[in-house]
Symmetry: C2
Subunit: 321 residues, 2 copies
């Protein structure tokens, strides 16, 4: 396994690999590798001749009030894991190598970056799309792998790749979850959770699972489902909701009337740690759409499988009750 820290060296290596007609798979990471990353690395290993993993904690995707300095850095352990996973090259540039002088250029994706995490992290997606462009141009891969846990990031990158004609296939792979912690989605930030917080963090996946069951059972009112998710998360006293939304899977706009598919997306602070999770639900082919056109008219008259509890007037209005 080779560790490359210079962009020029990485580009020359990529050129020489491409001259040998090697297919290059790429897993961009910020390090602190966990089983989620390893599932991407495993898939990339199987599908390509050469496997390159980048490890770079990208400052420009963090707001000044965020955890850039605190973000876990575990290079020694990451290197060991990469060796075990038969990674060919770790691309590990210094910050000064990636940002040697004042950066004037940014890559910006509009609309699909404005909601969900974009509402709470104003510079985040610009930082992500800019650094991913830089990494793509450094590593020159044929395929790049992203996790569904960061669903908005994944589709933003997919759209950017199409819009800018990057000749790179974007693979989005399923979220990996902790078995021990009620299905908590793996994240480098889980390391910040104390045992009590970790136990309560399971509320995210539990909420998604029940919401999915409600959809399976016929719920088609997006506002009502979003309200229910918020109420359910409040069962975890340490959880502070940033958003709990029911969205179109492509536009990421709230979806009041669910039809064939939907994104359930959550962002919740548990203690000081910001956790996100999501689930895509798709109607089974040939399944009947919701046959409940009157929908819920108030919590007591709800004809859907969920038991709604509204915390305030605004939410009740939003739910149309």
């Amino acid at each position: 396994m080779q560790i490359i820290s210079k962009i020029k060296t990485m580009q020359e290596k990529a050129d020489s690999l491409r001259l040998e007609n090697k297919r290059i798979g790429f897993v961009p990471t910020m390090g602190a590798l966990h089983q989620g990353h390893l599932s991407l690395i495993k898939a990339a290993r199987e599908e390509n001749d050469i496997l390159i993993v980048s490890i770079f904690v990208n400052p420009i995707q963090f707001s000044p009030n965020e955890d850039y300095k605190m973000y876990p850095r575990t290079m020694e352990e990451d290197e060991k894991l990469c060796r075990q996973m038969d990674v060919d090259i770790i691309f590990h540039p210094e910050t000064t190598e990636m940002y040697p002088e004042q950066l004037l250029t940014t890559v910006n994706v509009s609309e699909i970056t404005s909601g969900l995490c974009g509402s709470f992290r104003p510079v985040h997606f610009q930082g992500v799309t800019t650094v991913v462009t830089k990494l793509f141009n450094a590593v020159k891969p044929h395929v790049a792998y992203f996790g569904q846990k960061d669903y908005q990031q994944a589709i933003v990158i997919k759209k950017m790749t199409q819009d800018l004609n990057f000749d790179i296939k974007i693979q989005i792979l399923p979220t990996v979850r902790e078995e021990a912690d009620r299905g908590l989605a793996l994240s480098s930030r889980n390391a910040f959770l104390n045992p009590e917080e970790r136990a309560q963090a399971g509320i995210l996946f539990q909420t998604l699972q029940i919401a999915k069951k409600m959809l399976d059972d016929g719920e088609r009112d997006g506002n009502r489902l979003a309200c229910w998710m918020k109420e359910n998360i409040k069962n975890a006293p340490l959880a502070l909701i940033e958003y709990a939304e029911v969205c179109d899977t492509k536009t990421l706009k709230p979806l009041p009337q669910i039809e064939m598919s939907v994104l359930l997306a959550l962002s919740v602070r548990v203690g000081k740690t910001r956790l996100i999770d999501n689930m895509i639900w798709e109607s089974e082919v040939g399944a009947d759409l919701c046959v409940c056109p009157n929908l819920c008219v108030c919590p007591n008259l709800c004809v859907c499988p969920a038991q709604h509890v509204y915390s305030d007037k605004q939410e009740q209005d939003r739910c149309g009750s």
Copy 2:
């Protein structure tokens, strides 16, 4: 010579050329080829194994009030010229191929795009950097060629290429000028000029030449030089100045005190046609800097080679007189 209209086909062709270890030179154009383009094509032909010219009138770099629809399109003639110049491939995509669905992604360069042409053409550089990124990803060149006539564009692209780690060398080649028309810089838009306008359009190059002579003779006051350029352009009654600036060659900010080098940049409407031109002046190595620290204190006491005439109080103030 091959004409390719699909991005995917272009990428596959570029990949197969790179597999053969061919060096690809690229001249992006909007067509209506003239000797300025041909000088880029000639250089690219000499320096590379494969020469690709793109012809694409890019809608997103024109404001709604600009000449997108009017922009000259001469594909048949362009194709003939490319054959004569031994071009290997013309990449000539349709607008719907380049923009098949709603474009959400843009590439933005800040600061160096805000002055000069950026002040008058608000979406222009975003449109240029976005389409050049798309073209780079379609054509996958080793080197790309741009003309100095569009100096701001050239350095914006150079900065974008560095910032985003494009592994592409940017070559900037000198402006080509009409011999017959007092050195008028070649531009596809010159076709819009009637004979009277064409004759007066020579004022741009004449102004740059005299300004250069003033610099050679010791002028170092950027404001005064800019004022002089404006006054001189007014000698052409059909000329309407957009800007006449004396700038730092890298930041493109106005340069009040000239030292080792300077950009003289002009944008002038002659009739309905917008013309730009520029000149880089560099102090000769070892040449004495200006020895005139008192500089000009009023038009009558000017100790510099230029004869200043001020049209209004504001300009006089700016000139420090």
